[in-house]
């Protein structure tokens, strides 16, 4: 199984911190899973110009192809102007419209204010659904007080991240076996 973590912002540190923690939990609990963290801050990604993702070059090609090869994706997003950041939306725009078909997608959300809690529910989930993701319905929401100097200080958040990871792995395995069983029924 391949899991890709996507830290969707190029500014700030909360999303990256949360994603690093999430990825650590995956590697510790499931050493057999191949896991990659993509922090968009480390890459120089071009804006989508509508071409097929296989035809981009450099960082854009690496990031899109790595996501496409994953069985599951964990997205980390901050909330900017009551929405997801443009850098993350650009990744969605770079990918084919059915990019997440047969993939499980879960996410963690960081924000400066708890008032942003429903932003991901109302703005990220519809995009993932459109792109055919098997969405892990429950996400982890972290706010300013959960961090101190680039560390997560809330045990509650850590427990929730552990549950999210478990849900992602369980759903990926389950979905794969359901799909295989279903596909075997077609007889071709």
């Amino acid at each position: 199984m391949k899991i890709v973590g996507l830290s969707g912002s190029i500014v700030g540190s909360k999303t990256r911190t949360a994603m690093e923690r999430t990825i650590n939990i995956i590697s510790e609990k499931y050493p057999e899973i191949e896991v990659t963290l993509i922090d968009l801050a480390d890459f120089n990604i071009q804006f989508s110009d509508g071409r097929n993702y296989l035809e981009y070059e450099g960082d854009t090609a690496y990031v899109t192809q790595t996501i496409m090869e994953a069985d599951a994706v964990v997205i980390g997003t901050p909330v900017f102007q009551a929405s997801i950041p443009a850098t993350l939306k650009n990744i969605f725009d770079l990918l084919p419209e059915k990019a997440f078909i047969d993939k499980v997608v879960g996410f963690v959300v960081t924000a400066g204010s708890p008032k942003h809690y429903l932003v991901a529910e109302q703005q990220l989930k519809p995009i993932l659904a459109y792109m055919k993701a098997q969405i892990v319905q429950t996400y982890v929401f972290l706010e300013e007080q959960d961090f101190y100097r680039k560390e997560i200080v809330s045990d509650d958040v850590i427990f929730r991240l552990e549950r999210l990871v478990e849900d992602i792995v369980t759903l990926t395995k389950t979905y794969e076996s359901i799909r295989k069983e279903k596909e075997a029924e077609y007889g071709f």
Partner: protein, 352 residues
């Protein structure tokens, strides 16, 4: 229809097309050489002619996993190797070529083939060609529209006066040689949605509609939109042929046909488009109301006739070689087309 060399009385035309893809057989992981693939395509055209198939066409894609970049050269060889089958491109990416050169090439192929050449001009679904030949992808729409218009103009007028943005002006330029009978059938290649079909209608040019999968009724909307747009723009849609293109494969049973062809299409699409063909959608392709012509000969005949009833189109072209399908399988398909499918289709669509 005559202008486009279509005789509606003789029924639905049946053709074969290849994108000129060059992909390893997923069962063995082995890929034949470029040379072998090109020769097999030429051989396929000859076999298609012998089986009574009406039309054969070759596409151009300028990137990895394709091998007929120089599709006009391949068509030249086919022109020489055959005698009566119609030959064309599927498609010529006019956006990144010089319409004068394209016309020269196809007029020459028309002369070699004794008047059998046609052009299907498209906008490219794979865009590697833009970088390779030095064009900006941002000009995607305009490059096509301007150069396609110029191609149509050259087809009408031997001496051309023209000015545009993406090519040097033509002042009393004589474009020769001329095709055998004065002009070539030139079609506009169109993807699924009606918006694209409408543009072909405005221009009053025949339309080639690509259909990978989905309900016949959805594609009917595109064809209706095309005909309406043509009539609104002062053309007569009764005189404009429509052709459709899509996946095709026959075997003894529908399940065998699906089983044989699915790995090729799925793996081929992964390599060239980056997304496989979901099995669930592929399974639905066997529905009589789905455009995908994959199944037993009986099912495929039923589907093609149903599509003809709904679309009222003049030509269907089949893609059966995508993804590294082995030559023996292609031969078997051509046999079945010649002995079982063509006779039924002609019988039911010919004007009595």
């Amino acid at each position: 229809m005559e202008k486009y060399r279509i005789n509606p009385n003789s029924g639905l035309e049946f053709g074969l097309y290849t994108l000129g893809d060059h992909i390893a057989d997923p069962h063995t992981g082995k890929r034949i050489s470029n040379q072998q693939r090109i020769k097999e395509i030429i051989e396929l055209a000859k076999m298609a002619e012998q089986a009574g198939i009406d039309f054969f066409s070759v596409g151009e894609s300028h990137q990895e996993y394709f091998t007929t970049q120089a599709h006009t050269v391949v068509l030249g060889a086919i022109a020489q190797a055959t005698e009566k089958i119609k030959i064309a491109s599927s498609s010529t990416i006019i956006s990144t070529l010089d319409p004068v050169r394209v016309f020269e090439d196809f007029a020459t192929i028309d002369l070699i083939s004794n008047g059998r050449a046609e052009i299907i001009a498209g906008r490219a679904s794979r865009v590697g060609v833009f970088d390779l030949l030095g064009y900006n992808l941002r000009d995607y729409e305009e490059l096509f529209e301007e150069k396609f218009d110029l191609l149509l103009k050259i087809n009408q007028e031997e001496v051309v006066n023209w000015k545009g943005s993406y090519r040097a002006p033509l002042n009393n330029a004589k474009v020769i040689p001329r095709p055998l009978n004065g002009s070539l059938p030139i079609w506009r290649a169109v993807g699924g949605p009606p918006a694209s079909a409408i543009k072909a209608g405005y221009a009053g040019v025949p339309m080639f509609l690509a259909m990978l999968g989905g309900p016949v009724s959805s594609f009917k909307r595109s064809i209706e939109a095309y005909r309406e747009a043509a009539n609104r723009s002062g053309h007569n849609s009764d005189e404009l042929p429509v052709a459709t293109a899509g996946f095709f494969y026959v075997a003894d049973t529908t399940q065998a046909a699906q089983a044989e062809t699915y790995p090729y299409i799925n793996e081929g699409m992964k390599l060239t488009n980056g997304n496989g063909f979901p099995k669930q959608h592929f399974a639905q392709g066997a529905h009589p109301q789905d455009v995908m012509n994959i199944g037993s000969p009986e099912l495929v005949i039923e589907k093609i006739l149903y599509q003809h009833e709904v679309f009222g189109h003049q030509r269907y072209i089949a893609q059966m070689d995508f993804g590294g399908v082995t030559f023996d399988k292609l031969k078997r398909n051509i046999d079945i087309i010649g002995t079982k499918i063509l006779p039924e289709i002609k019988k039911h669509t010919r004007k009595k």
